[in-house]
Symmetry: C2
Subunit: 315 residues, 2 copies
């Protein structure tokens, strides 16, 4: 049984590497299994502990996740590492539970329109799916955490504006259904920091002993500002991906997830020790450059490096 506060304590920030899942969701070419395992191993050596390893989806449609069991095993072999898998249907839930992931990630849409368009089910049906997942989890031996992400929480590719009260109500229903973590996702990068601050604050207020996570895309350059606002509003779980890997299905050509390396620097400047060695982390980008040469990588820490002073350089 995975205990929420062992993985996500309230007194420090936890950064989740979602590049192996969200970062690979849309790509045509992807790293070999060996390269994924090297990626995880080197990030673990740099101090990263929380890995979203893939999706439990049909390998025929998502070949990038065909090796999810092997990648999962690689994470589980590392000390203190935490392995997360995404499930989108009942069969995936069964697979994830059988594979004994530490955390099952699932997704619902903030708006009725997006829920229907994306999954052909209502938000109420999506919550019922999460409830069934949590019941299955409760009946399992391993009892992983359940993390329910709310896509389009700050703006929707179909409806545009999203009523924050509807997101708070949905978060409440997800906690009620048994989710340990509710994630607020700025899926299409509509949010600015004030909006993040307000919605994170309201969701934290109803979370009780559960946790709120934030999942940001840098579509319009606001991701680091939004992450800063989320931390200020009390959020302690943030997703990111190495090199900002991962596009957006609703905004072709747009940049991907918030850059993990820059997120680490942000948290450190805010007084939260991440335990992550930034220079080691930046060096791991070479795996992505080698395995996915067509994929653009983002982020400024990789260009500039840590702050340096002339005296140190000269010495």
């Amino acid at each position: 049984m995975t205990k929420l506060r062992d993985v996500y304590p309230t007194d420090r920030v936890v950064l989740r590497e979602v590049g192996l899942r969200d970062g690979l969701q849309l790509v045509k070419s992807f790293p070999s299994t060996a390269a994924k395992i090297e990626w995880i191993g080197r990030e673990h050596a740099a101090g990263v502990r929380n890995f979203e390893v893939g999706s439990f989806l049909p390998a025929s449609r998502f070949p990038q996740f065909a090796d999810v069991h092997e990648v999962l095993s690689a994470v589980r072999a590392l000390p203190s590492a935490h392995a997360v898998g995404l499930v989108l249907n009942d069969r995936g839930a069964d697979d994830a539970l059988a594979a004994e992931v530490d955390e099952i990630m699932c997704v619902v849409s903030a708006t009725e329109a997006h829920s229907q368009a994306n999954t052909r089910r209502s938000r109420a049906e999506a919550v019922a799916h999460v409830k069934r997942l949590c019941d299955l989890r409760d009946a399992s031996d391993h009892r992983p955490l359940v993390n329910a992400g709310i896509a389009m929480a700050f703006g929707c590719s179909i409806t545009g504006a999203v009523d924050p009260q509807e997101v708070v109500d949905l978060a409440s229903a997800l906690f009620e259904a048994g989710a340990d973590v509710v994630g607020l996702a700025d899926t299409v990068g509509f949010a600015g920091p004030n909006q993040i601050s307000a919605l994170v604050g309201r969701t934290q207020a109803i979370a009780g002993d559960r946790a709120v996570a934030i999942h940001l895309h840098d579509t319009r350059g606001m991701a680091i500002a939004n992450a800063s606002a989320a931390v200020d509003a009390g959020c302690r779980i943030l997703d990111g991906s190495l090199g900002g890997l991962g596009g957006c299905p609703f905004a072709p050509g747009a940049t991907g997830n918030v850059v993990f390396e820059d997120l680490v620097f942000l948290c450190e400047t805010k007084g939260f020790a991440t335990g992550i060695d930034l220079e080691k982390l930046v060096a791991i980008r070479d795996i992505l450059s080698r395995e996915m040469p067509a994929e653009p990588l983002y982020g400024q820490m990789a260009r500039a490096g840590l702050p340096r002073v002339a005296e140190l350089k000269a010495g």
Copy 2:
């Protein structure tokens, strides 16, 4: 006579385009005078009003600013446009006053070590120069604003950490000397948002009826988060450059100023109407691509565009 609150009111945000000056400080090739004037004209049509047009420096050493008088005239011909020129010495001050700029920008260093290394004068001597500039300004017919920027205010390329109290004391001395605006510059991109918030707050607290500006570089990807923190701390004057043009003399290869386009989007999400048309602004990047093809341009608004919803796209 230029009145501070006519240009920089307290109840809205003013964004200063510094690309024509800071953006061109280090470049080898630069736009033609006609292209600069096109850049300014199109930004003015998009709603930008505040332009740092160049430096009053010897044309032999800084050919990119040889046309400063012509560019200045172009700004002055536009309704409600505000023209700023940088001066670094007494001769430049005389030229700027004779040219009747609306605002004279000057720079001092936050640390004694950087002041000596960069200008071979102490901070006290630098403040005395600002005082002399302000006295000359007071004796002039035109009486432009004086804006004194504090370079390395959040971290120094020589000393590393900077004592915020020394920056506040320096700001106080600059206001005392007659500066209308004191700018806090994160010259080498060391700052995170909490540091920005603290120093902007302390400087605002001693500013009285004068103004505090923020000048950010995106060296480590924190610039938009830092801008957000500055606005939250009460700052209403922010510098930026189109496409993030402008490197950093102390961090080779590092990115430049905070991207003007992304800064506009940030301010709009925070409820500050900038009066700037983002789509028109983004389109002006084509001048930079054409005139300075080797220069990398940054920013996410240019990739993603304004938030759009499927219904609007379909319609």
